[in-house]
Each structure stands twice: as C-alpha cells, then as structure tokens.
C-alpha cells in the first residue's frame, strides 16, 4: 500500500470516528427529547404536581418532589463547595503556599477528581452509619458537596493559573497585600471561575450514584433537612425499569427535564464566560 493510499484511509477513518461520536450524541439527545417530549406533551403538569400516595405503583401525581429535591440538594452543595473550592484553588495558585505543597495538593486533587461518585456515596453513608442517622436531605447535600469540590477546584485552579504574572506583579508593585492581589487575580479569572461553578452544578445535578443511598429516594415532598429527599437522577434510575408504563413515562419526562437543564447550563457557562471576559485584561468589552 503506497503512502498516499494510507493517508487517504487514515483521513477516512478519522472522519468516520468523528461522525460516529456525533451520531451517538444526536441519538442520545434525540431519543431523550422525543420520548421525554412525548411524555411531557401528554401531561405537562407532572413537572409541577406533587406525587400521589401510589406514585411508584401507577404514577399518580407528578415528580415535583424530585425537581425540588434536586434544587434543594445541589443548590446549597454548590454554594458550599464553591466557597471551599475557590479558597483551595487560591491557596494553591498564590503566594500563600509553597510550590512544592501546591504540586502535591494538586496531585491529590486530581486523584479526588477521578474518584468514582459511588465512593463518595459510600463514604457519606459510612459516616451516617457511624452517626446512626438515616438518609436525609442534609446527607445528600454533604455527598454532593464532596463530589463537586474537586471538580470546581480544578476549573478554578485552571482559570487562576491563566492570569498573567504581570498583573500580580503590578498589584504588588502598587503596595497591595496578598489578599488584595488575590482579589484582582480572581476578578481577572472570573470567566473561568464562573464556567467552573456552572460545570460543577451541572455535574452535581446529573449525578445519581452519590445521592442514591444518602438522600434516600423518597416518594414524598422534601420535608426538612433531616427528612429523606429524592433527586431527578434517582427518580429516573428507580422508575426506568418499572413495569407500569405510566411510571416509566415519568422517567422519560424527568430525563427530558434533566438533559435540557444540563445542556442549557453548559450553553450558559460558555456565554457567561464570554460576557465576563470584559473583566480580563485584554478581554473584549461586550
């Protein structure tokens, strides 16, 4: 085979592989939108209706409890993990820490980032067993916080790393303290930080393995911090294999809601990153 034929074959393979990836994306999104859309069109009220008493058997009512549960678990978790993540990333990317420590901590953060979500779930569950408590909204928040922390830290760290050294040197040159310099640097890194927080939120809202045992998967409206709750991914997981077609269709509708939310968040993070670019030195203004 001469080298030009090889070039043409490679060319074809590379394009074919890309086409496969795109086709799979279209298939996954398409099936979810069509099946979920059909279930939603048949009865759009299920998104805002609380579940009835026989919900798991015949799908009486709707899945408002899971929508609310998702927001109540992932919202607070994102706030807590964002505060922690920005602090950690700041420490590692600034003159507060030694380079050696930052290198080791980054190694550990990378490993945490690759840790399977189910391990975080088992971890929080083990703590719950130790404390003698049952599944609750609080435990769900805790496990999602631990899950999001390395993700948001990583994005924030990358954003802070891209801030030019000159900017920091200039602020120090004006007599600023380390904290004041960090504020300037964080502001310059804002697009990346915001994108990272949104990505963390999107990952958190889509994950089922961490909250499966910790939040509990209840079929009632969330009642309080120490009451069990459920989230959209848990609902989909539990109902996808139900024998009742009505219950299954709720899982399809819920995955429609979930995929639209996640894709919208990704889009928003890209747009916002562009908008916040005006805070970066040399970034576009509007």
């Amino acid at each position: 085979m001469d080298r030009y034929t090889e070039q043409r074959i490679a060319d074809g393979l590379v394009r074919a592989a890309t086409a496969i990836v795109l086709a799979v994306l279209v298939l996954v999104v398409g099936v979810t939108l069509v099946r979920g859309g059909r279930a939603l069109l048949a009865n759009p009220a299920i998104v805002v209706t609380p579940p009835g008493s026989t919900y798991m058997l015949d799908g009486a009512g709707g899945f408002l409890h899971a929508v609310l549960g998702s927001l109540l678990v992932v919202g607070p978790a994102t706030v807590i993990s964002t505060v922690l993540a920005i602090s950690t990333a700041t420490y590692l990317q600034s003159d507060y820490s030694s380079e050696r420590f930052a290198e080791y901590a980054n190694l550990f953060l990378n490993v945490l980032w690759g840790t399977p979500p189910i391990v975080y779930g088992v971890f929080v569950l083990t703590i719950m067993i130790g404390a003698g408590t049952r599944a609750s909204l609080l435990a769900g928040i805790l496990s999602i916080t631990v899950f999001q922390y390395p993700i948001i830290t990583r994005y924030t760290d990358e954003a802070l790393r891209s801030v030019s050294t000159e900017l920091k040197e200039t602020t120090y040159g004006l007599g600023a303290t380390r904290f004041e310099t960090i504020r300037v640097a964080t502001r310059a890194a804002l697009p990346g930080v915001v994108a990272g927080v949104i990505m963390g939120f999107a990952r958190g809202i889509g994950d089922a393995a961490t909250v499966l045992f910790t939040a509990g998967g209840s079929t009632a409206m969330p009642g309080g911090l120490l009451e069990p709750a459920t989230t959209l991914p848990i609902l989909i997981f539990q109902q996808a294999t139900s024998f009742n077609a009505e219950v299954r269709s709720h899982a399809y509708a819920a995955s429609f809601v979930l995929i639209v939310t996640v894709l919208a968040l990704i889009g928003a993070s890209k747009l916002l990153a562009g908008r916040f670019a005006r805070y970066t030195p040399g970034g576009q203004s509007e």
């Binding site: 080298r3 592989a17 890309t18 420590f101 990378n110 490993v111 945490l112 631990v146 393995a209």
Partner: protein, 304 residues
Amino acid sequence: MSNESTRLRRRLAVEGASSVWFRAAGYFALLVFGVIGATLVWKSLPVLTEYSLVELLTSATWDPARNSFGFMPAIVGTLAVSGISMAIGAPIAILTAIYLAEYATDPWKTVISSFVDALAAIPGVVFGLVGLIVVVPFVGDYLAPVFGVDSAGQGILTASLVMSIIVTPFIVSLTVESLEALPLELREATLSVGATEWEVTKHVLLRAAGPGILSALLLGFGRVFGATIVPAMLIGSQTLVPETVFSPGQTLTTIIVNDFGELMSLPLTQSALIFVGLLLLVVVWLFNFAAMLLRRRLERRWQY
C-alpha cells in the same frame, strides 16, 4: 494621619485572617483525601478480620444472607465491562481527537468540540435510560441471535457498549489537549521533509503526545472502572461469573447499589459492601497515580 494607620492596620488584619483561611482550605484538600480513606478502612475492618483478603477476592459465591462474600464474579464483571468499553471507545476517541486537533478547521472545530463537551456533560442516568430504550432491544433482538445466543438484552456487552460512549468524550478532550500542546515546529519540520499528514501524526505527533495519551487512557479506564449507574441499569445484575459477553453479570459498583438497601441491617454485609467501596477507591487511586507518574516518566524519556 491616624486615619491612615487604622486603615493600614485593617488591611493587614484582613491579610492575616485570609492567610489562615486559605491555608486551612489548602490543607482541606488533603484532609478530604485522608478522611475518605480512613473512614472506609475503619468500617471495612469487620469483614477483613473475619475473612482473609485472598478468600474475599477469589471466592465465586456471593450470598450475603449466608455470610459468604466472594467478589470474584463482580471483579470479573468489572474487568470485562472496563476492557470491552475501552477496546471500543479508545480507538474511536483517539481518532476523533486526531481529527479535532490536526484536521478540523475553525467553524467545524468549534462546533464539534462543543458537541463533544455536551456529550461529556450528559448525566449517566440519561445514557442508562437511552441504553434501556435502544441498546437493550438491539442486543437482545438482533445482536445475540446473530451469535446464536439467547439473551434478554441486559448483560455485560450492553453495559460495555453504553460505557464506551460515556468514556469517549473524556478521552477525546484529554487527547486533544496533549496534541494541541505540541509545538507547531514539530509538524512543520516533518511536513517539510515530505511526509504526508498521516505520517506526521503516526510517526511524530502520536509519539510526542504519547505520555499524555497513555495517561488519558489510564484515567478513562479508571472512569469506567468506577461507573455505577449505567452498569446498574444495563448489566442485568446477577452475581455469577459471566459465561459469555451476553450473560448478565455484576460489577463491583452495581453490587453496592443492588445489595445496600435490603441488606444494610446485617453488620457483616454492610462492612463487606463498604469494603467494595474501599477496593474501588484503592484501584482508582492507583490508576490515577500511575497515570500521573507514567506521564512524568515518559515525558522525560520521550523528549523530542
């Protein structure tokens, strides 16, 4: 004048407080790491003192109600799912990454990269659901009969097919990153001695980006290894050593999902399942550390 000095004092106080807070946050990263490991070890101890590690890992009978905890079926299932999904996903991912980094020009490049990002962001449960709707009937009604096997559709292969979709965008983005980090001179020099685009990729770029790609593969393997929801929905959940790729099976993660609810009251079972968590943690952490060390070593050796 005194106004000036109170301001300075306030600034320095803020500076001091921030130093304490940030230091605490920096060590928090290590703390999380340590606490997770320690907690899981602590609760795994009951089952580890009762049975030997070798016995747990090599016994094929899993019957928590009778206190026999053999992880062999789950280990085989996990390795099978990880192996098959990497075998399908890795070549497609690397080829797509080559297209994105080397072939695609701008309007397409941006569009396709954002599609790959979107694929990476879709929650696992949604893949599981689509798997149930599309892949399960496909395997059960079309693929299995072709091979003369009777299958309900749920099994090792079904889970692997869907996992290969999930791991692909992950490997793509890491591979694109290492390919794009290579200097342009490398391509120019090779092209200028008359190499075709594919020869540049094959002989120079893949080799120079090799450490990054290898670590991407290891990280991807770690991802599949710890994947939970998709296998739980698609593998058929039977704790037997699978005979063919169409057989239903169990992975280390799905065994936790399937057995936790009902058996949580039995302390030894509880400990055995927490031990599975520990096992996952150890293996995935080893993979991650290995990926980083390998990358560092190879980058030193394969210098261009």
